[in-house]
C-alpha cells in the first residue's frame, strides 16, 4: 500500500475516534441524533469533509493555488478584516466567525497562508538563507497573524508564525538562527505584556502554576489532569467518566476532548490517539520528501506543521504542559471549521502526493 493510502486510512481512523469522542461528551446526547446536537453536527461536517476530500483528491488542480497565490493572500486578508469589521462574537468579546457563526476564516487562513508562503518561497530559491527573504516574509506573515491576534485568537496567530518559522528552516536558515529569532520574539513579547488582555495573562500565569487559581483559570488544567489520571491504564469505559459526564471538565468537547477521551479509554486510548497522529505526521513528512517540485514540498510540510503544532499544543495543554490557548485537537475536537481544515489539509497532501507520482 502506498504512503498516501496509509495516510487516508489513518485520517479515517482519527475521524471515527473524533466522532466517538464528541458523542461521549455531548450534553445533548440523550436527545438522540439530530443536527441540534453536537455529535449530529460533527457527523454532518465529517460527511461533508470527506466528500470534499474525495473531490479534491480526484479533481483539484493544486498548481492553480500556487499560481493564484496573491489572490489567495488578498482574499485571506479581506476575510480577516471582514471578521474584525462584521464578525460575530461570543459573550467574552471574541470575534472569530462570519455568516452566523458558520465559518471561522482564521481556520481557512491557515490553509491559504500555507499555499501562499509555499509558492512565494519556491519562487525565491536564490534568496534562501538571506535576511531580505526573512524581512519580506516577516512582513507578509505579520499582517494576517496580527489580524488574527486582534480577534483575539493568539493560538491561531501563533500557527501562522510557526508556518513562517518552518518556512525559514526549509529555506536555508539554520536552526541556530531560528532559535535566535524566537528568543528575540519572546523578548519583544514580554515587552508587550502590559497590552495583553487580562484573561490571556491569567492563562499564561496559570500555566506556570495551576494552583494559583484553582477555581478560576487553573481549574481547567487541574480538572483535565484529574480526568486523565482517573482513567488509569484502561479507562473507566465508554460514557462512564464522571469528570466529563458531570461536567467537571470544562470544554470537554473542544479544548479538553483528549482528557475526556483518556478518562474513558485510559492510557491505552490516549496513546492510540498520539500514535495515530504521529503516524499520520510521519507519513506527511516522508511524503514531503518525495514530492519533487518545491512549492508542493513546502505546502505539504506547512500543512503537516500546522497539524503537528496543533496536536502537540492541544495534547500538551491537556497534560498540563502548555498554556490553555483554545487550540483544537485536529480530527478529534468538536467544531466544523477545525475538522474541515484538518480534512482539507490531508486531502491537499494526498492530492499533491498523487500528482507528484503522476509527474514524477
Amino acid at each position: 500500500m502506498t504512503k498516501r493510502n496509509w495516510l487516508l486510512l489513518v485520517a479515517i481512523a482519527l475521524t471515527i475516534c473524533g466522532l466517538f469522542a464528541v458523542y461521549s461528551v455531548d450534553p445533548l446526547r440523550d436527545e438522540g441524533f439530530s443536527l441540534a446536537s453536537f455529535h449530529g453536527r460533527q457527523t454532518l461536517w465529517a460527511a461533508v469533509g470527506w466528500l470534499l476530500f474525495w473531490l479534491i483528491a480526484r479533481r483539484v488542480e493544486v498548481s492553480r493555488f500556487f499560481e493564484w497565490k496573491w489572490a489567495l493572500y488578498i482574499l485571506m486578508i479581506l476575510a480577516l478584516v471582514a471578521v474584525l469589521l462584521f464578525g460575530e462574537g461570543d459573550e467574552a468579546g471574541v470575534r472569530r466567525w462570519l455568516f452566523s457563526k458558520s465559518v471561522q476564516p482564521s481556520e481557512f487562513a491557515k490553509l491559504a497562508f500555507s499555499f501562499f508562503l509555499a509558492a512565494y518561497l519556491a519562487e525565491r530559491e536564490e534568496e534562501f538563507g538571506y535576511w531580505s527573504l526573512f524581512l519580506k516574509t516577516l512582513f507578509l506573515t505579520g499582517i494576517p497573524a496580527f489580524l488574527i491576534y486582534l480577534e483575539p485568537d493568539l493560538g491561531t496567530a501563533l500557527v501562522l508564525v510557526v508556518i513562517w518559522f518552518v518556512g525559514l528552516l526549509l529555506s536555508g536558515f539554520s536552526a541556530r538562527r531560528i532559535l535566535g529569532i524566537i528568543a528575540l520574539l519572546v523578548a519583544l513579547f514580554s515587552l508587550s505584556w502590559p497590552f495583553l488582555k487580562d484573561y490571556q495573562k491569567a492563562r499564561l500565569l496559570v500555566f506556570i502554576n495551576p494552583q494559583r487559581d484553582p477555581l478560576g483559570s487553573g481549574y481547567n488544567v487541574i480538572q483535565s489532569l484529574i480526568a486523565i489520571g482517573a482513567g488509569g491504564f484502561l479507562g473507566k469505559g465508554f460514557l462512564a467518566g464522571s469528570q466529563s459526564q458531570l461536567r467537571f471538565l470544562p470544554a470537554a468537547y473542544t479544548d479538553f476532548i483528549f482528557a475526556s477521551w483518556c478518562e474513558q479509554f485510559g492510557f491505552v486510548g490516549g496513546f492510540l490517539i498520539i500514535v495515530l497522529l504521529s503516524i499520520m505526521l510521519y507519513l506527511v513528512f516522508s511524503i514531503a520528501r518525495s514530492v519533487p517540485e518545491l512549492e508542493g514540498k513546502f505546502a505539504v510540510v506547512f500543512l503537516g506543521s500546522i497539524l503537528l503544532f496543533q496536536s502537540t499544543v492541544n495534547i500538551a495543554m491537556n497534560l498540563g504542559w502548555a498554556p490553555v490557548t483554545g487550540i483544537p485537537l485536529p480530527f478529534v475536537s468538536y467544531g466544523g471549521s477545525s475538522l474541515m481544515m484538518s480534512l482539507l489539509s490531508i486531502a491537499f497532501i494526498y492530492r499533491i502526493a498523487a500528482r507528484s507520482i503522476e509527474s514524477g
Binding site: A227, I228, G229, F233, L246, F285, A288, G320
Partner: protein, 578 residues
C-alpha cells in the same frame, strides 16, 4: 537545484526528529499521569463527584407525666452554600437580591466547605428560593431539627435548653463542632439518652454543585424519648403562683420520689437560648440581678428558719423519752449566760407542751432543746436527714447546703463554738444554709418515717425503635430508724401547726395535713417565707415545700401560696393520683 532539494529534505528530517521527540515526551507524560499517578487522581475525581452531608441527629421528645410535650424538635429551614461555580460573595449577593435584604445574611461557616447564609426561613421564603433555584448553583435549602419548647419558661428550670456544643465536649469526642447538646435541666442531665443518631447523605454532584443523585441516604433518627414525673398543668399553676415573685415550689410524692412540680421563679424562655443569643443579650441575661437562669430549688442557699425546728424536734423526741409529760414556759425570751434570746411572740407563749411548741413555733422551747441536745447531736441528726449534701435529683448543678460545726468555726473564724451558736442553730438561723430541695427531702423522710426516696424527674424512657417503655426505678433507703413514738410526736405537732398554729391558713382544706412554717431572717432585707408539709399525715401521698424570697412571715405568704397549690391539686387530681 538538486543540492537545494537535498538540503530541504535534510531539514524535513529535522522535523521528523522533532516529531519523534514530541511523540516520546507526550506518551511519557500520559503514562506518568494515567498510570503512575492514576490512584491520586482517581481519589481526586471521587472527591469532585461525591459530597457527604452530615444530617444532624434529632433529639428525643420530652413529655410530662401525662404525655404533654415539653420539648421537641421542629424543622427549621436554612440556606446552605457549598462552593461550586459560584463564589461565596457572589452567592451572598445573589441571595440578597432575591430576598431584598429582608433576611439578615451573616454567613456562618458550618464546616470546611459549607456556609449557612440564612436561618429560620418561612415556608413562603423556601418556595421563593426553590423557584429561583436554577440561577443559584451551590445553594440549597436544608431542614435542620430545631429544639422547641411549647411551654417556654414554665418548664425552663426543669427541662433546660440546648445550645452549641462547647470545645471541651468536642475534645471528649462525643460531638462535632456544629452539633447541639443539652445545656441545662434534664436536657443536660439526660443528654446521652436524648441524643439521636446522626445520618448522612452521599450525593453525586456536578461541577456546579447541583445534586444529580443520592448515592446513599442514612436518615438520622432519635433513639429515646423520655417522660418526666412533672405534671404540666400543675407546674404551670405553681409557676403562676410565683409570678412576679422570687421563690420556689417543690411538690411530689414522698413515697416514690416523683416530683410533680419544681417551680423556680423567675425563669426564662428556653426557646430564645436554643435559637442562639447575641453576645450582648447573653451578657445582659447573666448580669440580671433576679438570676432567672439559677434554679432556686437546687442551686440557691437560704437560711431555713423555723422549718428546721422539725429536725430539732425529731432529735429531742428521740433522745428525751419524757417529752410528752413535760411542759415548757415561754416568757417571750430565753436567757443564757447573760444573753437574752427573744421569742418571735413578744409576750411569750406561757406554759406550753412539746406539740404546742411545734404548732406555735416557739423559739424559747427550741432554744432550750437545742442547748440540751448540743451541737454534736444536732449535727448527727442533720446528717442523717441529708443536710449538707445534695439530694441526687436528676438535674445538673445541684448543690448541697451548709451545716456548721465547731471545727469548721474554729478553722473559718479562729473562734470557739459558743452556746449562742447552738441556740441560733436550733431555730434554723446563724450559719446554717440549705437549698429548698434539702428541706423537701427532710419533709419526705419525715413523711416516710425514716425512709428516703430520691427525688427524681424521670418517669420512663421510651425506646423509639423497640417501643419499649423503661420505668424509672426509684431509689429508696432507710436513713433514720427512730422509734415509732418519735415520728408520731413530731407529726402530731405538725398537724397541730395546721389546726391551730402558724399554719392555720390551711386549716379548712379538709385533709389531714402536717406542715411547718418558717420565717427566715436574712441580712438582705425582708424575711424569707417558708411552708413545708405533707398529707395525709399517716399515709402521705403528697409532700411540698414553698419558699418565697422576702415573703415575710411564713404563716402568711408561703402558707397562703401553699393553700392555693393544695387546693388546685385536690380539685384537679383528687386523692387518687400516683
Amino acid at each position: 537545484m538538486e543540492n537545494q532539494k537535498t538540503i530541504l529534505d535534510r531539514r524535513i528530517e529535522v522535523l521528523i526528529w522533532i516529531l519523534g521527540i514530541i511523540f516520546i515526551a507526550l506518551s511519557a507524560r500520559l503514562w506518568q499521569i494515567s498510570v503512575l499517578q492514576g490512584e491520586i487522581f482517581k481519589e481526586k475525581s471521587e472527591a469532585n463527584r461525591i459530597r457527604i452531608i452530615e444530617l444532624r441527629a434529632p433529639r428525643g421528645i420530652i413529655y410530662d407525666r401525662n404525655g404533654e410535650i415539653l420539648a421537641e424538635d421542629v424543622p427549621q429551614f436554612q440556606i446552605v452554600f457549598r462552593p461550586g461555580s459560584l463564589g461565596l460573595e457572589e452567592a451572598v449577593s445573589k441571595l440578597e437580591a432575591l430576598f431584598k435584604g429582608r433576611i439578615a445574611i451573616n454567613p456562618k461557616q458550618r464546616s470546611t466547605n459549607e456556609w449557612i447564609l440564612c436561618d429560620n426561613l418561612s415556608l413562603e421564603e423556601v418556595i421563593r428560593f426553590e423557584e429561583a433555584r436554577q440561577e443559584l448553583p451551590g445553594l440549597s435549602v436544608e431542614t435542620i431539627p430545631m429544639r422547641f419548647y411549647p411551654h417556654g419558661e414554665y418548664v425552663f428550670h426543669v427541662v433546660g435548653y440546648v445550645g452549641k456544643v462547647t470545645l471541651q465536649e468536642v475534645e471528649k469526642g462525643d460531638y462535632n463542632i456544629q452539633d447541639f447538646s443539652g445545656k441545662g435541666g434534664v436536657e443536660l442531665f439526660y443528654d446521652k439518652l436524648l441524643r439521636g443518631e446522626k445520618g448522612f447523605k452521599k450525593l453525586e454532584v456536578d461541577a456546579k454543585g447541583r445534586v444529580l443523585r443520592v448515592l446513599e441516604n442514612q436518615p438520622p433518627h432519635f433513639r429515646n424519648s423520655i417522660a418526666l414525673t412533672l405534671d404540666l398543668p400543675f407546674q404551670k399553676f405553681c409557676m403562676n403562683l410565683l409570678k412576679d415573685k422570687k421563690g420556689v415550689i417543690i411538690a411530689g410524692n414522698p413515697r416514690t420520689g416523683a416530683i410533680f412540680s419544681l417551680a423556680s421563679s423567675p425563669a426564662f424562655d428556653p426557646n430564645q437560648l436554643s435559637k442562639g443569643m447575641s453576645q450582648e443579650e447573653w451578657e445582659a441575661l447573666s448580669r440580671d440581678q433576679s438570676f432567672p437562669l439559677t434554679n432556686r430549688a437546687t442551686q440557691a442557699l437560704y437560711p431555713p428558719g423555723s422549718v428546721f425546728k422539725l429536725l430539732v424536734a425529731l432529735a429531742a423526741a428521740e433522745e428525751m423519752p419524757d417529752l410528752d409529760e413535760k411542759t415548757f414556759f415561754c416568757p417571750g425570751y430565753f436567757e443564757h449566760n447573760d444573753w437574752k434570746y427573744p421569742c418571735w411572740k413578744r409576750g411569750g407563749h406561757g406554759r406550753i407542751s412539746f406539740k404546742e411548741a411545734i404548732a406555735q413555733s416557739c423559739n424559747v422551747v427550741f432554744y432550750q432543746l437545742g442547748l440540751q441536745l448540743g451541737v454534736e447531736k444536732l449535727e448527727e441528726y442533720a446528717r442523717l436527714l441529708g443536710f449538707g449534701s445534695p439530694t441526687g435529683i436528676d438535674l445538673p448543678g445541684e448543690i448541697g447546703g451548709f451545716f456548721p460545726n465547731p471545727i469548721w468555726k474554729r478553722r473559718q473564724y479562729g473562734e470557739p463554738w459558743y452556746p449562742g451558736d447552738t441556740i441560733n442553730l436550733a431555730i434554723g438561723q446563724g450559719y446554717l444554709m440549705v437549698t429548698p430541695l434539702e428541706i423537701y427531702r427532710m419533709i419526705c423522710v419525715l413523711a416516710n418515717r425514716g425512709v428516703f426516696c430520691q427525688p427524681h424527674l424521670l418517669d420512663r424512657v421510651i425506646d423509639n425503635q423497640r417501643g419499649e417503655i423503661l420505668a424509672f426505678e426509684p431509689f429508696q433507703q432507710k436513713v433514720a430508724s427512730f422509734k415509732e413514738e418519735t415520728w408520731r410526736k413530731v407529726i402530731d405537732g405538725m398537724r397541730l401547726v395546721v389546726k391551730q398554729g402558724t399554719g392555720k391558713a390551711c386549716a379548712d382544706l379538709g385533709i389531714d395535713l402536717a406542715a411547718k412554717t418558717g420565717t427566715a431572717q436574712n441580712p438582705h432585707g425582708e424575711d424569707h417565707s417558708w411552708f413545708a408539709g405533707f398529707f395525709p399525715a399517716d399515709q402521705p401521698e403528697f409532700a411540698f415545700v414553698v419558699m418565697i424570697e422576702h415573703g415575710g412571715d411564713g404563716s402568711g405568704e408561703a402558707a397562703g401560696t401553699a393553700r392555693a397549690m393544695i387546693e388546685w391539686w385536690l380539685k384537679n387530681r383528687g386523692k387518687s393520683h400516683d
